[in-house]
Amino acid sequence: MENIKINDDVLEMVLEEVQVLEQIEYSNFYIDDTKYKTLLTKKFEKRQPWKSPDKSKIITHVPGTIGKILVKEKEKIKPGQKLLVLESMKMKNIVETQDTGVIKRICVTPGQKVSKGEVLIEL
């Protein structure tokens, strides 16, 4: 109970907490050319745009440490050829190529820690 003074009259009243109604901001969301008003989920907003795989770059699919490098720059490579050793998941994984090409640049050195998606070799 609170006492409130209005024009010299003292009124006793209960003050309630009033929740301010938030104006919800809806997003536009398209399906089959129809525009819907709706809320988006975090997962939906965070989704990564798809990229077509770049065959000129050999990337890591798991994080790890670079071991021995088995090829040299300017070397011609053919499918099945061993490129380098990537120590990851408690294993020495041999990275092989599936394509034919010439090595333009080796981007890593033995002992280097690499994360997922890092470029190892450019063709």
Partner: protein, 514 residues
């Protein structure tokens, strides 16, 4: 020794054993903000209903000086009791005893109570609070986990199984909860993961906290592993209590009916759904506008929120509600929402709970990420689950029911018993905009004013097809109803479906698109 002194000896032994890991360990547990295993059992079960077994079990480990150690009850408490008069079997891992680690005898106690639950056809509640396998017992603890998983699977669909994660639950241990029907988690207390932050750091070089890796929020919002989230253990226990009132003891029974009660007057069914199918609203209000006393227990509230699942009652009988949620992602079906709905439908079917489906779906979510995440396989789960279900299945189409979404949401074609549609229903192969753009593509392109002709054609399509009457003319829906008639018709449909019986072809089991 007289019987009296033998009895006194028993009491002394009992007194000692129920101390668990002793005062210091109990204080540590409290410092972590956690109740002890005994306190938890007491809080979940009816007063004085708990009877404990295997209190005097001792471990048999003989390596690493283990023979010198006494582990009271081997770190787990098992017994029988009741919740609101319903009999249950329960086990609770005791973190105060060797970190609740699972050794051979610990596992044998759990499997003993699981065997009991299956034999007695009563629900099983498991409280998990364990550091994992007891390393000193080696392969015996692995065997223990295996025996538990096997029983979880055997009991699946026979008795309800509930897992309560009230501490760490890591490594192989997480697979027992994953095999059960409902997983309860509590903020800051529950932690579930296959490999912990330490291992991830050494193997992958990635740093993450336990909470961010597998805390209660992660499993409630991101993975969908948890079904019920709460802030405190007390809140968690009241959620368990509420869930128990909706589900039967076993697959041979029906849930105990309540007295029928009208929905609360504040939910006005004809004032919730906007006529324009592109506008959002909260479909939970529609459920509350038809359910007894406007009661609705939502499951997996924070995960795949574009579909709503949960229990309520119609005319006193437990109902499983499934509804597209236009408030989130316009209510589309996608990988996660399909997964969520399909599993719930299978639970309802296994435990004789009729299913009511509210449809307002624009279709399946388009996108490369969805296609690559396997929306074909996951989306098929919904078709499988509805088709396979033999419990009463009732559908109410509120607004849009487009394309594959129409078929999947318990359509007549998947053997819905009753399909009702509101006058706002639009049963069509896709939304008018998309359909007009395809059907009238040539005319639109050839026109000097394509926008004008497009609008005209959309309008034409809308008038012809965006209604329930095309489907009604083919008998795909049974009747078009006024929104305010919905509850009356649902009550009737549930009542006339009580003796529903259909025979499915004899088989060992189907092969759902897991």
């Amino acid at each position: 020794m007289s019987l009296k002194s033998k009895t006194l000896d028993l009491l002394r032994r009992r007194e000692k054993a129920i101390q668990g890991g002793g005062e210091e360990a109990i204080e540590k547990q409290a410092a972590m903000g956690k109740m002890t295993a005994r306190e938890r059992i007491k809080a979940i079960l009816d007063k004085d209903s708990f009877h404990e077994y295997d209190l005097f079990v001792e471990h048999e480990a003989r390596d690493f000086d283990m023979e010198k150690k006494v582990l009271h009850g081997d770190g787990v408490i098992i017994g029988t009791g009741s919740i609101d008069g319903y009999p249950v079997c329960i086990f609770a891992q005791d973190f105060t005893v060797a970190g609740g680690s699972l050794g051979l005898m610990h596992a044998r106690k759990i499997t003993k109570i699981m065997d009991h639950a299956l034999k007695l056809r009563v629900p099983l509640i498991g409280i998990n609070d364990s550091g994992g396998a007891r390393i000193q017992e080696g392969v015996s603890s692995l065997a223990g986990y295996g025996e538990i998983f096997f029983r979880n699977t055997l009991a699946s669909g026979v008795i309800p199984q509930i897992s309560v994660i009230l501490g760490p639950c890591a490594g192989g241990a997480v697979y027992s909860p994953a095999l059960t029907d409902f997983v309860f988690v509590v903020d800051k207390i529950s932690k579930m993961f296959i490999t912990g932050p330490e291992v991830i750091k050494t193997v992958l070089g990635e740093e993450i906290s336990m909470e961010d890796l597998g805390g209660a929020r992660v499993h409630s919002e991101i993975t969908g592993n948890a079904h019920f989230y709460s802030e405190t253990e007390e809140e968690c226990f009241s959620q368990i209590y509420k869930l128990m009132t909706y589900i039967p003891w076993s697959n041979e029974r029906k849930a105990i009916p309540f007295k029928s009660k009208e929905p609360k007057s504040k939910y006005k069914i004809d004032a919730i759904v906007p006529g324009d199918p592109k506008q959002p609203y909260d479909v939970r209000d529609v459920i509350k506008a038809v359910s007894d006393d406007s009661d609705f227990l939502e499951i997996q509230e924070y995960w795949a929120a574009n579909i709503i699942i949960g229990f309520g009652r119609i005319a006193g009988e437990t109902i499983g509600f499934v509804a597209n949620q236009p408030l989130v992602l316009a209510g589309v079906l996608d990988v996660d929402s399909s997964d969520k709905a399909a599993r719930f439908i299978r639970f309802c079917d296994a435990f004789n709970i009729p299913i009511i489906t509210f449809v307002d779906v624009p279709g399946y979510l388009p996108g490369i990420d969805q296609e690559h995440a396997g929306v074909i396989r996951h989306g098929a789960k919904v078709l499988y689950a509805y088709s396979e279900a033999t419990v009463p299945k009732i559908t109410v189409i509120l607004r849009k029911a487009y394309g594959g979404g129409y078929i999947a949401m318990n359509s007549r074609h998947l053997r819905a018993d009753f399909v009702f549609a509101w006058p706002s229903a639009e049963i069509a192969v896709m939304g008018p905009e998309g359909a007009a753009n395809i059907i009238f593509k040539k005319e639109i392109q050839a026109s000097p004013d394509p926008d004008k002709i497009r609008k005209l054609k959309i309008k034409e399509y809308k008038e012809k097809f965006a209604n329930p009457y095309v489907a009604a003319a083919k008998g795909y829906i049974d009747t078009v109803i006024e929104p305010k008639e919905t509850r009356k018709l649902l009550v009737h449909a549930i009542e006339v479906s009580k003796n529903k019986r259909i025979d499915i072809p004899k088989k060992k089991h189907g092969i759902p698109p897991f």
